[in-house]
């Protein structure tokens, strides 16, 4: 078991024939992901990486039965691509592209919600179910199969955490990179219940960062509804106020969105909060040891 995606998930790629789209589609195929085709307007009817190319998402969905789209189009075209996927009946769009305007995402997200399409990202590494399905740009080999669910705003911290978890002798069920933009798709609050319900996931790692209040919402949810142990790290404890730390959403403004307030809320919700990201693996080993004695 896993959440959201598995070996049977049929995936199309929007921006399939572009440089990034091609490279990562190939990597995903090599990992075992069932990529069934792609969309590049004007190139419909051609073949790319041995797969069919379509002019529209609607054509691609009709011909392949794909339910998930991985989006690599340039930032200016992201909202159009997301809405096209939603309109075509795709159930989940994984938006890898970095740099989409916030206003565009505001419209695209609202439209996706209306059409019942889930979104992940933008500006994220994607989602991976270990040994089954990788939809994104993460290095697949790090994610050994196991029993830890992972939710993270940061790409490289996802890899760092998965690596530590594996070094401690555990593995990953599904890892979701939710992205660090001000407006994102699925977040902790939607993903936590999925991991809670997944019988294979025994514990959850959540990586947050400064800016916004998604981690605070997560803490409130965990307190009420999550029975599985959660280990958390919040990046940016040493970040100054008013400075954007790389991610568009990673900014403390007006004294709100600090790491300290998020860490306090998570601690109060019973989460094991580590101060140093180097301790994520060890903390997972501890909560797993405690589970074993129960």
């Amino acid at each position: 078991m896993s959440i959201l995606v598995n070996k049977d998930t049929k995936v199309i790629v929007q921006g399939f024939t572009g440089k990034e789209g091609s490279f990562h589609a190939e990597q995903c195929i090599a990992y075992g992901t069932k990529i069934v085709g792609g969309v590049t307007p004007g190139k419909g009817g051609q073949e790319h990486l041995g797969l069919p190319v379509f002019n529209t998402v609607a054509d691609a969905v009709a011909a392949t039965g794909a339910t998930v789209s991985m989006i690599f189009v340039p930032p200016a075209f992201v909202s159009d691509a997301v809405m096209e996927a939603a309109d075509a009946g795709v159930t989940m769009a994984v938006i890898i592209t970095e740099g989409a305007p916030v206003k565009d995402m505001m419209y695209a997200k609202a439209y996706a919600v209306k059409k019942n399409m889930m979104t992940i990202g933008p500006n994220c590494p994607g989602i991976i179910t270990a040994d089954e399905c990788k939809i994104g740009i993460m290095p697949g080999f790090i994610f050994k199969k196991g029993s830890i669910g992972l939710i993270s705003k940061s790409g490289t911290l996802t890899y760092e955490s998965a690596n530590q978890v594996v070094k401690e002798g555990f593995g990953i069920t599904t890892a979701v990179g939710i992205g660090g933009d001000p407006i994102i798709g699925l977040s902790y609050k939607q993903l936590l219940p999925m991991f809670e319900a997944d019988p294979e996931t025994k514990a959850i790692v959540m990586i947050g960062e400064i800016g916004g209040d998604l981690e605070i919402q997560a803490a409130a949810y965990i307190k009420e509804h999550v029975t599985k142990p959660v280990v958390a790290f919040i990046a940016g404890q040493t970040a100054p106020e008013g400075k954007r730390m790389g991610h568009a959403g990673a900014i403390i403004s007006g004294g709100a969105g600090t790491a300290a307030e998020k860490m306090a809320a998570l601690t109060a919700a019973g989460v094991t909060v580590v101060v140093s990201p180097a301790d994520i693996g060890k903390a997972v080993a501890q909560v797993m040891a405690k589970l074993a004695t129960k």
Binding site: P101, E209, A235
Partner: protein, 389 residues
């Protein structure tokens, strides 16, 4: 990206958001000329820097004659203005905005920003104009009225009425206020703004509403389609090293510690700073070298970090995913040849081909490169090296 008050007011004027008339001046002579053009017998001379709290810092002054305009312009232009938002080092004032006077009856606050939880813009108004809104929010949150505006349907009359009646405006002023707020919402949306703050918004003796001050920030991701806004960027208001880093597509932020950091990925870069702090050191910067981390970007990274004389050691922390560690190792060796790196460099490479990378670094025999096995080890070694241990 942020712009100056006078630039924000130019945008306001285009959308019929009422402001006072004014002119920008770079010299006291220009300030006097500006005052004469405006006419009247009272003017306000305002320092133009990207920071709030200018009045308290002595950057905003009243003048009642041409002589006084010259005198205060002389004081303000070239002064080092320190406010609660500039930090203790302050900012050098290069220009002033000379504005006509106004008959102020009451001061309000009006602002728009993105509510990340609601995923739509919210407009906020308060009767506590002229005060820091953070303080109002903290001490008397009931004095801030908020309305969320669905971008699909836009600003509606009821949004305006909720704000206007919330501010307890008399009914004959409500429509004037709503027109003001609606126009401001259009400015916010059309220019891909991230934030607009009018503090204070003033009501004049004859019942008009005017933006006495104006602060605007924009979504950097949208600047490609906002050429006019992009042209307003004032590089002299930004940290020079950050601007230089940006030109090479590196995301750099200067901090006040002595352990330089070079990391791939924003989250890990913050995490690395936190680890250094946890191990008893202080990070000198945030630096995300991005996905590629090749010889050129690494060399540029070293160059930028070493511009800060406080840096006593550099921690290179790369988690190689798609980018292979052996390539990064070669890049680091190459970079040390391109730039004169005169402090210890602690290198932690993990991920794809990490073992080969360690071998490459060892064989290179560069004496100030110290290999680290993991994040904690690297941070400990970097902190120790910065302390001269």
């Amino acid at each position: 990206m942020n712009i100056h008050e006078y630039q924000a007011k130019e945008l306001f004027a285009k959308y019929n958001v009422p402001t006072l008339r004014g002119h920008i001046a770079f010299t006291p002579d220009e300030a006097v000329k500006a005052a004469q053009e405006l006419g009247g017998n009272i003017w306000v001379v305002k320092a133009q820097i990207h920071a709030g709290g200018r009045g308290l810092g002595g950057g905003v002054k009243l003048a009642r004659s041409s002589g006084e305009v010259r005198e205060v312009a002389q004081q303000i232009i070239g002064m080092n203005l320190v406010t609660h938002q500039t930090g203790p080092e302050g900012k050098m004032v290069q220009k002033v905005y000379v504005e006509e006077g106004a008959d102020i009856k009451k001061e309000y606050y009006l602002g728009i920003l993105l509510d990340r939880a609601l995923e739509m813009p919210i407009m906020m108004a308060s009767t506590e104009g002229g005060m820091a809104i953070e303080d109002v929010a903290h001490n008397t949150p009931e004095k801030i009225i908020k309305v969320a505006i669905d971008p699909v349907t836009g600003f509606q009359g009821f949004h305006g009425r909720k704000l206007a009646f919330g501010l307890e405006l008399p009914k004959e002023e409500v429509n004037t206020f709503i027109k003001f707020a609606a126009a401001l919402y259009n400015v916010y949306m059309d220019y891909d703004s991230e934030m607009i703050e009018i503090n204070p918004l003033v009501k004049t003796g004859d019942g008009r509403f005017l933006a006495l001050d104006a602060k605007m920030g924009f979504d950097n991701n949208a600047l490609y389609r906002q050429e006019h806004i992009h042209e307003m960027r004032d590089l002299s208001e930004e940290e020079p090293t950050e601007v230089e880093a940006g030109k090479s597509d590196l995301s750099y932020i200067k901090l006040d510690g002595n352990v330089g950091c070079m990391v791939n990925g924003a989250g890990l870069a913050m995490g690395t700073m936190d680890t250094i702090n946890y191990e008893g050191g202080k990070p000198a910067n945030f630096l995300d070298v991005g996905g590629s981390a090749n010889a050129t970007t690494v060399a540029k990274g070293f160059e930028i970090i070493l511009k800060d004389p406080n840096v006593k050691a550099i921690f290179v922390n790369i988690f190689g995913g798609i980018v292979r560690c052996d390539r990064v190792a070669n890049g680091i060796i190459e970079a040390t040849k391109l730039t004169n790196v005169n402090v210890p460099v602690i290198v932690r490479l993990d991920g794809t081909n990490a073992i080969e990378a360690a071998e490459i670094l060892r064989n290179a025999g560069i004496k100030n490169i110290i290999a680290a096995t993991d994040l904690a080890d690297g941070a400990k070694k970097a902190v120790a090296a910065a302390k001269g241990e």
